[in-house]
C-alpha cells in the first residue's frame, strides 16, 4: 500500500467529482440548487462516448457532452426560474430524465469497442518534484491538469471579478441585485447552464479519460450525488471543493489498496483480516452525502455554514423578502 499511488489515483478519479462539484457550486452560488447533477453527468458521459466513437475525435466528444448536459440543465432552469417551481422536485426529475435519456440513447454502446481517448501526459520538470511530482504531474490525463487550472480560476472569478460579484449578489440578495439593474433571471439561467457544462465535462472525463467506457448507470454510480454533498461540505468554496473531491477520489482507491498489507504503521490491519470491512469504506461517501445534505437543509445551520441566502428560493420581483 503506497500512499503516493493512492493519492495519484485519487487525483485522477477525484477530477470527475471536481468538475461536477464546481459546476454545482456555480449554480448554487446564483441561488439555484440543481439536484440533477447525476442525470447531467450520465448524459454527458454517454454523449461524449458516442461522439468519440462516431468521429474518432475525443475532444469533439467533450464539447458535445458539455453542450448536451448544458441543454438539459436548461429544462431545470425553465421550470425553476421561469415557472418558479420547487427546485428540489425539479432537480430530482432532471436526474430521472437525464438517466432515462442516456440509457435509451446509450443502448448497445457498451459493446462498441475501442475508442480514441483523451491523452495523458507527464509534465517535464514538475514531475521530478518530491512527493507532489508523482502525485500531481506524472502520467495524468489532460483533464486532470484542466482540473488543476479550474480551481484557482473559479475562485478568482467568483471572488475577484465584477461578474463574480454579480453572481454572488444574485444568490445572496436578488432583490438588491435587481435594484442595481442586474438581470437576476438571466444570470441564473447562465449559471445553471454553466453547471450543466461542468456536469457534462465531468461525465466526459469518466467515459473518455478516467475510466473509459459506457456502462449505463454504473458509469457514474452515484457520483453526482456525492458532488452535491461536496458543495455543501465545501461551503461553496472551490478550493475546499477540490480538497474534498480529491479526498473522495483517493478513498475509492484506498478501499482496495488497504486490503493488501498485514500491518499498517506497525498495527494489525483489520482490512486484511476481514473482507466485510470493505463494505463500510464503500459506504462512507454516501453516508457523508446524507449527513451533509441533512445539515445543509436546516435553516439555522445553513446560515452558519455560509449558504447563499437565496439558495432554493425563486425570485419574484416585487415580493418582499429575498
Amino acid at each position: 500500500m503506497d500512499p503516493i499511488i493512492i493519492l495519484q489515483a485519487g487525483v485522477a478519479s477525484g477530477t470527475v467529482l471536481l468538475f461536477a462539484t464546481i459546476g454545482e457550486l456555480f449554480a448554487e452560488r446564483s441561488g439555484v440548487m440543481n439536484l440533477g447533477v447525476e442525470g447531467m453527468m450520465l448524459i454527458g458521459a454517454m454523449s461524449a462516448f458516442s461522439v468519440a466513437i462516431a468521429t474518432s475525435n475525443p475532444w469533439l466528444g467533450v464539447l458535445v457532452a458539455m453542450l448536451v448536459a448544458g441543454l438539459l440543465s436548461q429544462v431545470h432552469a425553465v421550470i425553476t426560474i421561469q415557472f418558479q417551481a420547487d427546485q428540489v422536485v425539479s432537480g430530482l426529475a432532471l436526474t430521472f430524465l437525464g438517466t432515462g435519456l442516456s440509457l435509451v440513447f446509450g443502448e448497445g454502446l457498451s459493446a462498441a469497442g475501442a475508442v480514441s481517448l483523451l491523452p495523458s501526459y507527464t509534465i517535464p520538470g514538475l514531475s521530478v518534484l518530491p512527493i507532489l511530482g508523482p502525485i500531481l504531474f506524472t502520467n495524468q490525463n489532460i483533464l486532470v491538469y484542466l482540473g488543476f487550472l479550474t480551481i484557482p480560476l473559479t475562485w478568482y472569478y467568483i471572488n475577484r471579478t465584477r461578474q463574480g460579484m454579480h453572481l454572488r449578489a444574485v444568490g445572496e440578495f436578488p432583490a438588491a441585485a435587481d435594484a442595481l439593474g442586474i438581470n437576476v433571471a438571466r444570470l441564473r439561467y447562465i449559471y445553471v447552464f454553466v453547471g450543466g457544462l461542468f456536469a457534462g465535462l465531468s461525465g466526459a472525463a469518466i467515459s473518455l479519460a478516467i475510466s473509459p467506457g459506457w456502462f449505463s448507470q454504473l458509469t457514474t454510480s452515484g457520483q453526482g450525488w456525492i458532488a452535491i454533498g461536496l458543495v455543501i461540505f465545501a461551503q461553496w468554496n472551490p478550493i475546499r471543493a477540490a480538497v474534498g473531491s480529491y479526498a473522495f477520489g483517493a478513498l475509492r482507491r484506498l478501499i482496495f489498496d488497504i486490503q493488501g498489507p498485514t500491518k499498517i504503521l506497525g498495527l494489525r490491519n483489520p482490512f486484511f483480516y476481514n473482507s466485510y470491512l470493505g463494505f463500510f469504506l464503500q459506504m462512507l461517501p454516501f453516508a457523508f452525502t446524507i449527513i451533509v445534505l441533512v445539515i445543509g437543509s436546516r435553516e439555522a445551520m445553513r446560515k452558519r455554514i455560509g449558504a447563499p441566502a437565496a439558495l432554493g428560493l425563486p425570485y419574484i420581483r416585487g415580493e418582499r423578502g429575498l
Binding site: 500500500m1 499511488i5 418558479q84 457498451s110 482507491r253 486490503q259 483480516y273 470493505g278
Partner: protein, 401 residues
Amino acid sequence: MFRNRLWQFAIMMLVFSLGLVACASTAEEAPELVGGFEIPTVEEGSFNVAMVLIGPHDDGGWSQAHFEGLEFVEANIDNVHTAFIENVPEGADSEQIFRSLSRKGFDLIFGTSFGYMDPMETVADEFPDTMYIHISGIKSNTTNFGNLFGAMENMKYLAGMLAGARAQMDGNPKLGYMATFPIPEELRLGNAIALGMRRTCPECTMDIRWINTWHDPILEKEAAASLFDAGAQVVFTGADTPAVADVAQEKGKWGVTYDWDGSCKIDACLTAPYWVWGPVYEGITQGVIDGTYQPGWDYFDADTGALGLYGFMEGETLQPGVAELPAEVIAEVRGLIAATLAGSFTRFDVFSGPIYDNQGNLIVPAGAALEQVDLDAFPEFDLGCEYCMKWWAEGITAELP
C-alpha cells in the same frame, strides 16, 4: 403573476400528458412495470422461457454468456419463446421480478446470479407449476427449484498453471485475484487458480482484492489497478466484465478474463476460462418440456462441452502471451485439457490431497479428495461438509474473516 404562471404551467403539463395518453392508447397495451423494470409478456401456445440477468446482456462476460445460451435455446428448440430482463439487482428487488414473471405465465425461469437464490426459493414455493433454475447457488428443492453450476474450477486450475508459468518467465512470481464476495464459489475458484499456479511456479504467490460486487466495470478496473500496482504480474477476475485485461494492457502486464469466449481479444489477455451455456440450457429446457428434468443439485463437468479455456479449444489460437511460454507447459496444459474434456480429470482431481492452506495446515491429506459438498459449503451452512471450502490455499497472501 406567480399564480398565473403556475396555472399556465399546470395546464401545459395537463395538455402534454393528455397527448401522451392519447398516443399510448392507440398503440398496444402498456407494458407492466415492476420497480422500473419492464416485465416481458408470454407468447400463447409456446413454451415460455425467461432469464433474469444481473448485468447488461452485452456485458462482455458473465451475463453475455448466459444470454447467448438463451438465444441458443430459442434457435434450437421448436415452439419456444424466450425473454430476458437485465440489470436486476440481487435481493428484494429481484423477488418482485421473479414473482411478476411467474404471474405472467412463464414456464421456465433462469436466475443467473448467486444473490437471486433466496428470492427464487420464496417464489418457487408460491408457483408450484413454474420451473425455476438458479445458477451458482447452494439451495434447491426436488419439485420446481433446481440449482445448476459447473466445474469451472478445472478451467481456472489450468489458467492458473498458465499464469504461474507466465509470471515465472517474466521474473515476477506474483499473481492477483480480484474476488467478488466471500462465498464458497469464489474461494473454490481462487483456490483452484492457486493450486494450478503452484504446479508450474512453486515460488508464486497470489494477492486478493475483494470488490463486493459482481458487476461494476469501473470498480473492477480500480481493483485491478490496485493489484497491478501492488506488484502482480498476472491478474484474474472473478467478476463479470473483461476490465482486468484492459488495465493489464495499460500497465504492460497480463490479465485473465472470465465467463465468455469473446472476452479475451486483446493481447494483454492470456486466456479466459469460459462457459458455453447453450447446450446445457437446451437440455434442461427440453427436459422440462418433456417432463423428464429432475430439479435438484445439478453440477456438470467439462465433458458436457459447457466449459472452455480460451486459446485451447477447437478452432481457437493461443493468445500471444501464452504462445511464448515454454513448450512443456503448453503440452502439459493441452494434455490436462484433453483429460478434462474426456472426463478423466475432474474437479475432484483438482482438489485432491495433499492440499495445504496458507496457514500451513494440512486441509486434505494425501490420497483423499474433496467431495461435492466440500466444494459448495462453509462449515456453518450445516450441509455436512468434512473439509469444506473456508480456507485459502498455500501461496495466497490473504486471510478470511
